[in-house]
Symmetry: C2
Subunit: 367 residues, 2 copies
């Protein structure tokens, strides 16, 4: 095989496929990037068996072939090459020689035949979103997936297509995050639970531009993201996702309208009085026109008042401050509405169209 | 005590004095910032017993007093306050109340009387430098102090004043870094070994501007840096520093003139073939007009050639690549001269005026 690519094109493609190189694996071949120029395109593929990425690399094929090169070493070399044309030559012993200007690297490779190819996805039904929208949907929900694997479904996010809307849901037992967006094309109703890791890696590849599009294909067990010159294939998490609709009541006793940034800054300051180890709640006391936040610990005490608009009853309620901050950080609106029922019932942050809903369970507290 | 300061003035001063708060100490009072407004100035002081910092804070004293507040908690609070005026009030029980807009923090303090004051330094003889120059002198030498404490003197830098020049020297047994600068005022000859930690903390406080000045005062055991509204006092390291002049020969057999950035990039690339664990040298082969760099390891092999100007004999010599890169990174000149004698003798990188000299010991190698 003999290829010529610019350093920058190589680097761009390497950075994309690195997202699916496993950090630990019992199969050494998966620590490699498969460089495949056996047809008329140069393609890089990586696969950690959950997640696989394939991307087309700009460049010239002078001699067709295929090789697997250690991903870390190859990416380090590419990164440090001068900003110039790079030649990659392999021989029949799977030795690779990388030259760029006067620098010449020789590294051992592995036969491309041993690589584990990506599962085949029939590209049947699909939905299309802007890369911006998908990146935002992920950012605005990913924080509330569960970290531990005790319930596998909680480590993923529900992608639910229904009535021309895409709804993305994550939950960890203490809170639920929901974002909705309208789809431009019609598509059959469908539910899929996508691993959180897949979403966070895909999110890093997405450009974040509203003009760039990404297409999502679903099969029974797989999801495929097709964007620009890249496809990402991931296994789905099997099982029936939680029935969240019955948790989403729209009744409330108290509605608070508040400046989001003021509330966020105030809770952020209050957390200074909480040691990492003790899970002290913040206590919010809502009266007419006023939200008072209070916290007292071994470190000291803090209180602060924020002007609000209030409808309904006064209420005093306790929360894990982190859960509140996580939600507030991803809401773009300047002013938000918070809906409360009683100190034992979940609180909701949502907009009128329910394009976003954040449910947070309260915490018991002693005054 | 009652003070009013802007959040930004407080933050600026807190950031300065935080540099001398010990991370571990058996004396809890040293984890505090002493806030002293017992006279007409507000002063913050911290002291880790090696290094002490005092800075004057802009603000209004409404009621005189003095208190010691936990440095981490106080700095965290200040950092997260709104950008507005901050009021600090203390009572006779050393309770402090910090208010800013509608936020109110109450934290326990300690009596200021228990704080360990900075040692007194008689401000007698001194030298003056721009903050830029001192910051550069430190940056260009600090990397070659020894990390381990096995030889205390190696963990500091020699500040030597002689014939109206300041010479700063660091060494770790494998290399020596020397920078020289001319002093504007005359000053008695003097030698002092300043702890590396002091220099790296001072360096963070220095503005890096050529118009801002810093004055250095020396006593038998102490050095005092006076800059703007801040003084830094540090103990010196006791003992006789190494006699380096006898190691600095100006004889050479080979002189190489080379583009610094090309050499740095080339060595940087070569290190990709070195595992952290094995201390493989890079081998440099110098012939007429050409420097060839070679490395071979389990990972693979790399070689690269750089055009040079050469005087004298051909030579092949091995080096620890990190030592070479450390020196090259802090040299600002585009083109450098390297002087070599033989594969066992130290190599020198220096300019004609010897405003900088970097000595690096070679490493044995097998071809």
């Amino acid at each position: 095989m003999k290829l010529i690519c610019s350093k920058n094109d190589l680097l761009k493609s390497v950075n994309i496929v690195m997202k699916a190189v496993p950090s630990k694996t019992t199969m050494p071949i998966l620590e490699c990037i498969l460089i495949d120029a056996s047809a008329d395109k140069i393609e890089f593929t990586t696969n950690d068996m959950e997640l696989g990425i394939k991307t087309v690399v700009e460049g010239q094929i002078l001699e067709r072939g295929r090789i697997a090169l250690n991903a870390k070493i190859f990416s380090d070399i590419v990164r440090k090459l001068p900003d110039s044309d790079v030649t990659l030559v392999t021989d029949s012993n799977d030795q690779a020689v990388i030259t760029c200007e006067k620098a010449r690297f020789a590294i051992p490779g592995k036969s491309g035949e041993d690589f584990v190819f990506l599962p085949f996805v029939e590209r049947d039904e699909s939905i299309e979103l802007s890369q911006f929208t998908l990146k935002e949907l992920i950012r605005q929900t990913i924080f509330s997936i569960a970290i531990t694997e005790s319930n596998k479904l909680m480590t993923g996010e529900l992608f639910e297509i229904k009535d021309g809307m895409l709804r993305v849901v994550s939950l960890d037992g203490h809170r639920i995050s929901i974002r909705r967006t309208e789809l431009k094309e019609s598509c059959a109703d469908r539910k899929a639970v996508v691993p959180g890791k897949t979403l966070s890696e895909v999110s890093k590849i997405l450009s974040g531009e509203t003009e760039d599009m990404v297409r999502l294909f679903f099969t029974e067990n797989l999801i495929l993201f097709e964007l620009d010159e890249t496809i990402v294939v991931s296994r789905l998490i099997e099982g029936e996702y939680f029935r969240i609709d019955q948790m989403l009541s729209s009744d409330y006793e108290t509605k608070v309208t508040i400046n989001k940034q003021e509330l966020l800054n105030c809770i952020d300051r209050a957390t200074l009085m909480v040691k990492e180890s003790d899970k002290k709640p913040i206590i919010i006391n809502i009266t007419d026109g006023m939200l008072e936040l209070k916290i007292r610990s071994d470190i000291g005490s803090m209180n602060e008042e924020i002007d609000i608009e209030k409808e309904g009853r006064d209420i005093m309620i306790g929360f894990n401050p982190r859960f509140f901050m996580d939600a507030l950080r991803v809401i773009d609106e300047e002013t938000i509405d918070i809906y409360l029922v009683n100190p034992k019932a979940p609180c909701f942050i949502r907009d009128e169209e329910q394009s976003y809903v954040y449910l947070i369970l309260p915490v018991n507290f002693t005054v």
